[in-house]
Amino acid sequence: MNYVFHFADIWDAREELLDGTLLTLRLSALSMVLSLFFAVIGAFLRTSGPRPVRTAVAVYVEIIRNTPFLVQIFLIYFGLPTIGLRLDANTGALIALVLNGSAYTIEIVRAGIESISRGQTEAARALGLRGLQIFRLVVLPQALRVVVPPLGSQFILLMLNSSVCSVISADELTAMAQDVQARTFRPFEAFITVTVIYLVLSLLFSGAFAAIERLAFGRKVPAR
């Protein structure tokens, strides 16, 4: 192998890569928060809504989980403008990530809800609480505690998945790497640098989630 690495060009583009990293983090954090919000509603409807609503949520989850994220992005980013909804790339990426992330998060939250014993609901009813109150005050807080570890993994998956948004040139980290390699003709150096950034981010977050879990709930999390 007589290839000479040129990382100097990549170093010169550090500000661009930093911006990309920040956008990846913002995009992932925002999509995770929105996904969790929709997932709580979705999981409630999926477990205690009327039958047609329950089926509708189940169908949504199955469709999203059995089709590729890339095709979902194309449908949203190229499809929505044809019905008059113009989107910039970052908004398209956000919508795609939230639609995709919500389906997976609904399943996580639902598993959490179903792990709460029926006795809790019965006791709440005996105390005179009503449907939504039972969910909000009794079931949900306990369920969320159970789902903290899988939500942490889901966040990391979502962050790694956000790299696919580079195809519609949202200015996140992978798209920045594409820009840098197109300008410098150093694809390997650009992509390996960005890969290392993703690896460091995912290791940092999985460490941070394990620490939060230990501090907040005082239990040990098995390594991912």
């Binding site: 199955e62 590729p68 890339l70 095709v71 194309f74 190229f78 499809g79 990391i156 890969t195």
Partner: protein, 217 residues
Amino acid sequence: MRALNIGDFEFLLLALRWTIALAALAAVGGGLVGLVIALLRTAPSRAARWAAIGYIRLFQGTPLLLQLFLVFFGGDMLGVPLGAWTSAALGFSLNAGAFLGEIWRGAIQAVPEGQVEAARALGLHYLPRMFRVVLPQALRVAIPPTVGFLVNLIKSTSLAAIIGFVELTRAGQMLNNATFRPFIIFGTVAAIYFFLCWPLTIASGRLERRLGAAYVR
């Protein structure tokens, strides 16, 4: 821009072959890598276990898209241009190996310790112990999550479109560039993926419930 015609849908269905071929190739390649990773991950030697953990962390902690780029451009860098087919097959196999390795590690560890001890007491060395005693029993536990993983694998082959490999998603993109009917084209593409993946999702769930029932007694 031109209108869509019947031939365009045939074009999509024909492109499905390459999605299936790539997924099958990656499943076999990933299966081989995964077996090695699972064995290393459960090996008696600490160094072997750490190597396997490092491999799994690396591939599960970075985006698959970048792994594909690195294989694709890494070949160029080493002076052996791999082309879209080889890079995709290699990239997906290395990635699938990490996930299958982790799934199968769990299955191997689900085999009761007594089985290993009994095999050792009968004088079986490492390889016959693993291949004739542990792995056949681990297989039962491993099948449902492995089938579930195939769904992920099929979906992820769509990323090969980005490195220029013409499979279902890339075919949809090409068609959309020519006709600009994104809803109908990508809707059809999504539907094809769905009918490929959904039976596997259902099968995986059923197998899991059946396995669960077998363990409850």
